[in-house]
């Protein structure tokens, strides 16, 4: 029996677990603790939780100061604010001195839904990926999120992690091993490779299933770490299959699709089709409805895949 759970709820639970074993973990939030689920940590460890109010810039530089004392700050807010309102703070005070701050942002992509374009970060991965010293992670489900929280706590240095808002069936069983920078091949195949991140991984698996009914053999890779990218997996996929489809709930400019294309640009191996938000803003609507509208539906990904497979 697979449990429906959102990655953000799993994040909140994992923080509590982490807090029990690691007294250096502190959590900062900007008046969104119920939405980001850091509220769970605040109830368990009130003295290690800091609500910084609706002031994200102060929150980021403050976390940097805490990290210089050996604490491990987890800083949470919506992705749109973490990655844009406070990005210069992240660049100069966290990434440049490589301080041990973990930025875990929730509510990313058009999946956010009815709050509309102002609250749907579709550029966060592109922005954070451009900053030296940053690790950028987008786990596929709640099982993966739990593992990722543990992994980034053990990693020494700044991390940006984007976790999903909505409830999903998990892609993973709990015995899976999460390793920063090491992608996971969820399905083997020789005709085409689909590389996905976050909530698009389960969709990629559905696409592979559909295409297998048509007789195609599809490789599916969960590229949970967009930076550093698992280049070996990308190059192998380009060599061993006829083409690559990238899928992300993010603009096609600068995100997963770009990272994969950049990796392959020095080789003449295989075509890449980038599926994501096509350089435009989102809007209000139900999350799943918006994903379909912006081309992140199983049927559209199947159609795009057939372009290569033909």
């Amino acid at each position: 029996m697979k449990d429906l759970l959102s990655s953000r709820v799993a994040y909140g639970k994992s923080l509590v677990e982490l807090g029990k074993t690691n007294p250096k973990v502190v959590v900062l939030d900007a008046d969104l603790s119920k939405a980001t689920q850091t509220v769970q940590f605040s109830e368990e460890f009130p003295e290690r939780f800091f609500d910084m109010g609706i002031a994200e810039q102060n929150m980021m530089s403050c976390a940097a100061g805490m990290a210089t004392f050996g604490l491990i700050p987890f800083v949470s807010t919506f992705a749109v604010f973490a990655s844009m309102r406070a990005v210069e703070q992240i660049r100069n005070f966290i990434a440049y001195p490589k301080l041990n701050v973990k930025i875990v942002a929730t509510h990313a992509g058009v999946e956010v839904g009815q709050d509309g374009a102002t609250h749907q970060a579709i550029e966060d991965i592109a922005i954070l990926r451009a900053i030296p010293n940053m690790v950028v992670i987008a786990p596929a489900d709640w099982v993966s999120t739990k593992k990722a929280v543990q992994a980034i706590a053990e990693y020494q240095g700044p991390v940006y992690m984007r976790v999903g808002r909505s409830d999903h069936e998990p892609v993973y069983q709990s015995d899976f091993k999460f390793e920063i920078g090491k992608s996971v091949q969820l399905r083997s195949g020789k005709d085409l490779t689909i590389i996905a991140i976050g909530n698009m991984v389960s969709k990629a698996l559905s696409v592979a299933e559909e295409l297998s009914k048509l007789g195609f053999s599809i490789r599916v890779i969960d590229m949970h770490t967009v930076k550093p990218l698992d280049e070996t997996a990308v190059i192998d996929a380009a060599k061993e299959t006829k083409g690559i489809i990238t899928v992300e709930d993010h603009t096609i400019i600068g995100g997963l699709g770009s990272a994969v294309s950049e990796t392959l640009s020095s080789y003449n191996l295989a075509p890449v089709i980038r599926i994501g938000i096509q350089d435009r803003f989102g809007q209000s609507g139900i999350g799943d409805e918006l994903l379909d509208y912006y081309g992140l539906s199983v049927s559209n990904i199947v159609d795009q895949s057939l372009e290569i497979l033909k």
Partner: protein, 278 residues
């Protein structure tokens, strides 16, 4: 406070100024005015107030200093060298390729720098983070943040001011190098700051107003801040930009230019003469 000690700290401030001008002249770029205005404050912090040990720059119980106005680092580098964090000779590498002494402070390259700064308006937030961390870890560190006056125009300073008062961060002391000049002109011409003390008071801070070149007042202000246990303190130190060299003092144009060799020679003579009068 004894006169001898006051004179010693004044003398150190003049040494900081002399070294600062020398290394700026050598680097051929950098920020002169704001480096000279903060020299007395740095002298008191590093040679009297702060609990630090240059032999143990990573000692966890040390007090912390954040130069939020990071561009004024030449005076801080001079201070750190005088204190013994690194040899005086290395000052001549300022701003050169491969140097430990970057154009703005870099904690990863320079011993004695507690956090990298340079982008204005963020030092107080980082200081608050340190203050909260120290308290959580049940330590006694005091955190000092030196801000420029122009950077008070950054909104983030006031986010930090609000949060520090909210968290009653009494171990945090802000010092404002209130020389009243910034790049495009005076504060009043560019963006009015007054009533400055009232702003901080209304945010819930203990405000101490002093002459930022009077050693005794600086020392007493830090003492008063230390005695304040229920809120953070801000020392508004009225200073003169370019302090110590008559042709640099109060000149907007000296924010971001450095002395020529001739100007340096003239300035050093003047600083030596002023030192003799102590």
């Amino acid at each position: 406070m004894e006169i001898i000690q006051v004179n010693e700290l004044s003398k150190k401030a003049y040494q900081i100024r002399k070294l600062t001008l020398e290394l700026l002249c050598e680097a051929k770029s950098g920020h002169t005015g704001g480096s000279l205005s903060e020299a007395d404050i740095l002298s008191v912090l590093y040679f009297s107030k702060m609990n630090i040990d240059p032999a143990k720059p990573d000692w966890e119980d040390r007090d912390r200093f954040i130069l939020s106005k990071g561009h004024a680092c030449p005076a801080l580098y001079a201070t750190l060298a005088l204190k013994g964090y690194f040899p005086l000779e290395s000052l001549s590498t300022l701003r050169k390729l491969g140097s430990k002494l970057q154009g703005h402070p870099d904690m990863k390259r320079t011993l004695g720098i507690d956090i990298s700064t340079g982008s204005l308006g963020q030092g107080l937030s980082a200081g608050l983070g340190m203050a909260l961390a120290s308290r959580l870890l049940k330590k006694q560190n005091r955190i000092y943040v030196l801000l420029g006056c122009g950077e008070l125009q950054e909104g983030q300073v006031w986010e930090a001011a609000m949060a520090a008062a909210h968290y009653k961060a009494a171990n945090l002391t802000a010092i404002i190098d209130y020389n009243r000049l910034q790049i495009d002109g005076s504060n009043s011409e560019v963006m009015e700051l007054s009533p400055l003390a009232d702003k901080w008071r209304s945010f819930g801070w203990k405000v101490i107003e002093i002459d930022g070149h009077n050693i005794e007042q600086i020392v007493n202000a830090f003492e008063e801040a230390k005695q304040t246990v229920d809120c953070p303190s801000v020392i508004i130190a009225k200073t003169v930009k370019g302090k110590g060299v008559s042709f640099i003092e109060n000149q907007v144009g000296w924010h971001g230019r450095v002395p020529t060799k001739e100007e340096l020679a003239k300035a050093l003579i003047e600083l030596d003469e002023r030192m003799k009068t102590l």
